[in-house]
């Protein structure tokens, strides 16, 4: 019985040690991410129209955010491809082509990482004043729903096309990795209504397992894990599907966070 108690105490101590070890590693990675972000966006472009300043005046801060937002939209409009604007204060997500809004969707809910408040104000304005580029994506639906058809050898083999199934049976959830290191998570807003709840849980769980695996690997090889701030967005399923399918591989994304 005594041996058993000792075993129990050792287990508890080990548990606490492992959790503390992992937490410390994660917190160190957060600090590193803040430093990297601040240094990445610290320099002013040579031909900057306006140089952002750090200020405690909320009205000037709001003006700087507004300037950064309009500037980023103008930059995105220079590209020929379709871009996305996420305006969190207005809860709107707009698809744009050359500065023209081609589709407007309502952001049902969102959660911004507190990383945005932890970084340097000027670095944040500078990051927001240019569009982010999508560097990678994962999703539950294919980006291009391609169907392969082999041509018939002659007219006897020819069968007219059947009516396509246009019902939205697939759950729509996707993640965009961006050039600023921020991950954008897009989820269906009411997955339970369309029986997509379990699919959403699996998608989210798989992502957490991947991150957890990376964390363990880093921790046990004594390397700082990579911290990536997240923005989680919930959209209507149709809007989410339209946005994912419309955006090209390296799409530009404009953010307004305040």
């Amino acid at each position: 019985m005594k041996r058993f108690r000792v075993l129990l105490i050792i287990s508890a101590i080990l548990l606490v040690l492992i959790i503390s070890f992992i937490s410390t590693f994660e917190i160190l990675s957060v600090n590193q991410a803040i430093e990297e972000f601040n240094s990445k966006f610290s320099t002013n472009p040579e031909k900057a129209e306006y140089n952002f300043v750090s200020t405690s005046d909320s009205s000037i801060s709001a003006k700087q955010i507004a300037y950064a937002y309009i500037n980023a939209q103008l930059e995105a409009s220079k590209s020929d491809s379709i871009s996305l604007t996420l305006n969190f204060p207005d809860s709107s997500a707009n698809l744009m082509i050359k500065g023209v809004v081609v589709h407007s969707a309502k952001i049902e809910s969102y959660k911004l990482s507190r990383f945005i408040n932890a970084v340097d104000e000027v670095a944040l304005y500078k990051m927001l004043s240019l569009p982010l580029h999508v560097t990678g994506h994962i999703s539950t639906i294919p980006k291009v729903p391609l169907m392969v058809k082999i041509a018939p050898k002659d007219t006897s083999e020819y069968t007219p096309d059947v009516v396509p199934d246009t019902t939205d049976i697939d759950a729509v959830n996707f993640i965009f990795e961006t050039s600023a290191g921020i991950q954008l998570y897009f989820y269906e807003s009411n997955p339970r209504e369309s029986a997509d709840g379990m699919k959403q849980f699996k998608f989210d769980f798989r992502d957490r397992v991947n991150s957890g695996y990376e964390l363990f690997r880093s921790a046990f090889t004594f390397k700082k894990p990579k911290y990536q701030p997240e923005i989680r967005i919930k959209l209507n399923k149709r809007d989410a599907k339209m946005i994912y399918r419309a955006l090209p591989e390296n799409a530009d994304i404009v953010l307004k966070v305040r």
Binding site: T55, Y67, V119, L146, M147, D154, E157, T166, A246
Partner: protein, 235 residues
């Protein structure tokens, strides 16, 4: 006799104990592993976010702006907003949604019509001579570069390949087919057209070879509203 039974029970319990201990030990180990995994997957992100709260930077007036600088910032916002708003054409334009096969027609920056259309089916047709075609509607900004009434369709190679027919020569009259494109056709370049259809039941579905099909009334409105150079936004 009773004494014998008691002793045998004690012996039985003693024999079972290592097995019991093993299972208790195993369940403690498993519970610990599950706790660590749940902590890493779900609780750790919360801890990181709480830590970020502690890191929150308070803005410092490194350079307070004077009235002149504030006025300049206001002017820049106004100028850039104007520049951005001017990107939306004052002339009529057309928007096509290829995911849900819908269109919107705009005039004087206001939507004047919307409805169903049909766009590319995303079919990859593989021919037997190693040639292949993807039937998709291109996305992005296009302009109307041609307008015709009573268009006649010149069947491209793929239309013969997909029916298992031999490909005729480029000038063969069999390539020309009247009455299948409706009353009007507007060209956006690269062989892509906005035209009518005899397959009206498929409107709202992705069934075309890349062109944009519309019903007769919508097509007429689009034809009469859009001019040469009018912008077509496809997403």
């Amino acid at each position: 006799m009773e004494q014998v039974t008691d002793n045998s029970t004690k012996v039985e319990v003693a024999k079972k104990r290592p097995v019991l201990r093993f299972f208790i030990g195993l369940s403690i180990t498993l519970t610990s592993i599950i706790l660590i995994v749940v902590f890493v997957l779900y609780a750790l992100s919360g801890i990181k976010e709480s830590y970020l709260d502690l890191q929150k930077t308070s803005a410092v007036d490194t350079a307070s702006l004077n009235q002149k600088q504030i006025a300049r910032l206001d002017n820049l916002i106004k100028k850039n907003s104007q520049k951005f708003n001017n990107l939306t054409p004052a002339q009529p334009y057309f928007i096509v949604n290829t995911t849900y096969n819908r269109f919107k027609l705009y005039k004087n920056k206001k939507q004047i019509r919307e409805g169903f259309c049909s766009t590319g089916s995303y079919t990859l047709l593989k021919g037997h001579d190693k040639r292949q075609w993807i039937f998709k509607t291109p996305k992005g900004l296009y302009k109307i570069i041609g307008k015709v009434t009573n268009p006649v369709w010149r069947r491209p190679d793929w239309s013969f390949v997909e029916e298992g027919l031999p490909i005729p020569s480029q000038n063969d009259p069999v390539r020309w087919e009247a009455g299948v494109l409706g009353d009007y056709a507007l060209s956006i370049g690269d062989g892509y057209l906005i035209h009518g259809t005899i397959y009206k039941r498929f409107l709202g579905m992705p069934v075309t070879h890349g062109c944009i099909r519309m019903n007769d009334e919508d097509l007429e409105a689009v034809y009469k509203t859009l001019d040469f150079g009018s912008k077509v936004y496809i997403f």
